[in-house]
């Protein structure tokens, strides 16, 4: 609670949190007012300028951008969260195990972690996505992103866990007969919670970024519209060269705002946990 009060004192955190939770609430509740079933329907001419009936204009297939963007926003958030949850879960487990247990299994896990940090994850993403003809779905892309980004979480959690391992209160708990699981659950996780949460925030942001980047180069989901897919279509239809700003900027701004909000939250939390940065 004290933590939350400290966080609320930081204007950066408040702005970030309001932006991010506002976006989430909008993505959840807007479909009650805007009918998404007709999102893929042609409703007007090609690239109509924003007007009273189409607030953000129409795309090259005459579809309403408001509906497309809402659908895309929901897809992007879905990918970000799914990838973030997967990467955080796997990374935290691997990190705690490695940092706390040590030994040969830690060496092997650590080797894998370092290996997949230097091998660029977008290379893996491109290779797999390009080899899938059917079934390149939003969920598969999210899982792929999660599967390539967990080493980042594992690496930082491992460092934290191994520095916690030699603290006095852990030794005391051990003397008192607590087993490893109890120690991890009661004496390690609480210390790591805020840290893991921060890494989770970054994983969600990078999940959203990765999805939009992979869709942008034409390897996006085939079963749904995402913000990256919208941008890819606009780019392929020549929206940029023709100066059709409503095809490019709304989607770009939504991606940037979400990521910026997450960065703000992450950075302000770092400021609170690391008092030196606060002064």
């Amino acid at each position: 609670m004290k933590l939350l009060r400290n966080l609320l004192k930081s204007p950066m955190f408040v702005i970030g949190a309001v932006l991010f939770f506002g976006t989430i609430l909008f993505a959840i509740f807007a479909p009650f007012f805007i009918d998404l079933k007709t999102a893929m329907d042609r409703v007007g001419g090609q690239y109509l300028e924003p007007s009273g009936s189409f607030w953000l204009g129409t795309d090259d297939l005459g579809r309403d951008y408001v509906k497309l963007l809402l659908q895309g926003l929901r897809s992007s958030l879905y990918v970000g969260f799914l990838a973030g949850v997967l990467a955080t879960t796997v990374g935290t487990l691997v990190g705690i195990y490695g940092g706390f247990k040590g030994g040969i299994i830690d060496d092997i896990l650590n080797m894998f972690t370092n290996l997949f940090i230097v091998i660029p994850s977008f290379v893996v993403l491109i290779l797999v996505s390009a080899s899938l003809e059917q079934g390149r779905s939003l969920t598969i892309i999210a899982l792929l992103i999660g599967a390539t980004t967990w080493p980042w979480t594992a690496r930082s959690v491992r460092a934290q866990a191994s520095s916690l391992k030699s603290r006095d209160h852990i030794s005391l708990a051990r003397i008192n007969g607590a087993n490893t699981l109890q120690i991890i659950y009661k004496h390690i996780l609480p210390y790591l919670a805020s840290y893991v949460f921060m890494v989770f925030i970054m994983q969600v942001a990078s999940g959203i970024l990765s999805e939009s980047a992979i869709s942008m180069i034409g390897l996006g989901p085939m079963d749904n519209v995402s913000l990256g897919v919208i941008l890819n279509q606009a780019k392929n239809a020549g929206a940029l060269g023709d100066g059709i700003w409503w095809g490019i900027f709304p989607a770009s701004i939504i991606i940037t705002v979400i990521v910026f909000a997450l960065f703000l939250i992450n950075n302000s939390m770092e400021g609170v946990f690391n008092p030196r940065l606060r002064k």
Binding site: M12, N114, L115, I117, V118, I119, P120, S121, F122, V123, V124, I126, L127, V128, A130, S131, L132, E133, Q134, G135, R155, A159, A205, L209, S212, A213, M216, I217, G218, L219, L231, K235, L240, G241, G243, W245, I248, F249, S252, I255, T256, V259, F260, L262, F263, L264, N267, E270, N274, R276, L277, K279
Partner: protein, 357 residues
């Protein structure tokens, strides 16, 4: 072994490690495409088999399969048939060994779409452009970002309050979004700079002054779109490190001694530099990825564009060649940073174990 030369020992250790990583990267490049449901021979057959008789189709398919090393051949290069007249598949492991042998000798196979053309030829045409764009923009962006971050940490006040949020915002803008903003504003609306390509289409590549001028003119937008975003991210990291270092005893002591500001700043910079270098080693991969997408936005004729074209036309062998080259160069870049750390980090010089990696 080599106890008296800890730096050399460290470099050798890292070298061996990176070589093993390289082998894993080749294995990944080999295995991942085979997990999917796309087959290069099917793609080529769809194009090549139109209007051919069944017999000719079969022959063509076999010749493609031979080309890609999928079926067994005799020493003279004749296709082996079993008793039923069927071809004999090469086992996955032997395919991998062949792939490894070919890759290590620089042979990346043939393009599927531009069939007899070698993948390595396509890549060699693209690499100079990518190097010319990415190397300076990433390096200068990194340096500029670090200087800015150190200044923000040291000065704080108004300077910090302006630079920090700006850097934070810049670092959350995706590469391709910023590229598109620059194109839209400076090329489409204002018309100051060209939006596409690396040189004017009216010119032939040559060493003439006119051509080099055109190249420089086309270089501006892609360069800045990588440079500024990278600088933003680095400035944030350096600022945190700098503020952390400012609170340490040696800086306080230096201040009490009344050392000159520039002197203190140089101490600060040196100490905050190491974690930043490690950070660089870790993030080179994603930087190069972002820069490749920037190339695609600007149709810059480098590796990113080659990859985009290949993705658009299902040219799997070219995609594979590009990803392997990108991975390799990221590994080389990482190794170079590690060597630099080896010379800069006193802990390595003293022969102590480095924490973490």
């Amino acid at each position: 072994m080599l106890k008296q030369y800890p730096t050399l020992r460290y470099i050798l250790q890292r070298g061996v490690w990176y070589f093993l990583t390289f082998l894993v990267a080749i294995a990944i490049n080999f295995i991942l495409p085979r997990l999917g449901d796309r087959n290069p021979v099917d793609i080529m057959m769809a194009k090549a088999s139109q209007g051919l008789s069944d017999e000719a189709v079969k022959e063509k398919r076999e010749s493609f399969e031979k080309e890609f090393g999928l079926i067994e051949v005799t020493a003279e290069g004749k296709i082996i048939h079993d008793a039923n007249g069927k071809t004999v598949k090469v086992s996955g492991f032997n395919q991998f060994l062949n792939y490894l042998k070919m890759t290590l000798s620089g042979d990346l196979g043939k393009s599927i779409q531009k069939y007899p053309k070698n993948v390595s030829d396509i890549i060699i045409e693209a690499v100079p452009w990518t190097l010319a764009l990415q190397f300076p923009s990433i390096l200068l962006g990194w340096i500029f970002g670090n200087v800015l971050g150190a200044l923000a940490a040291y000065r704080r006040g108004v300077f910090d309050r302006v630079i920090f949020p700006m850097a934070l915002f810049m670092s959350s803008v995706p590469f391709f979004v910023f590229g598109m903003v620059l194109v839209y504003w400076f090329a489409v609306v204002l018309g100051w700079f060209p939006a596409m390509e690396a040189y004017s289409g009216a010119l032939n590549p040559s060493l003439s002054l006119e051509f080099i001028g055109s190249m420089g003119y086309h270089y501006v937008l892609p360069f800045f779109s990588i440079f500024l975003i990278l600088a933003g991210g680095q400035a944030i990291g350096m600022r945190s490190m700098g503020i952390y270092e400012l609170g340490t005893d040696y800086i306080k002591y230096a201040k009490w001694l009344g050392l000159k500001e520039t002197k203190i700043l140089s101490y600060l910079f040196r100490n905050a530099m190491l974690p930043q270098l490690t950070g660089l080693a870790l993030s080179i991969g994603s930087m190069v990825g972002g820069a490749l997408i920037t190339e695609m936005i600007f149709s810059y004729p480098g590796l990113g564009m080659a990859m985009l074209t290949a993705i658009g036309s299902n040219d799997y062998t070219v995609i594979q060649g590009c990803t392997l080259l990108v991975t390799t160069s990221v590994l080389v870049a990482n190794f170079s940073v590690d060597i630099m750390i080896g010379f800069l980090d006193p802990r390595v010089k003293a022969g102590m174990q480095m924490g973490g990696k």
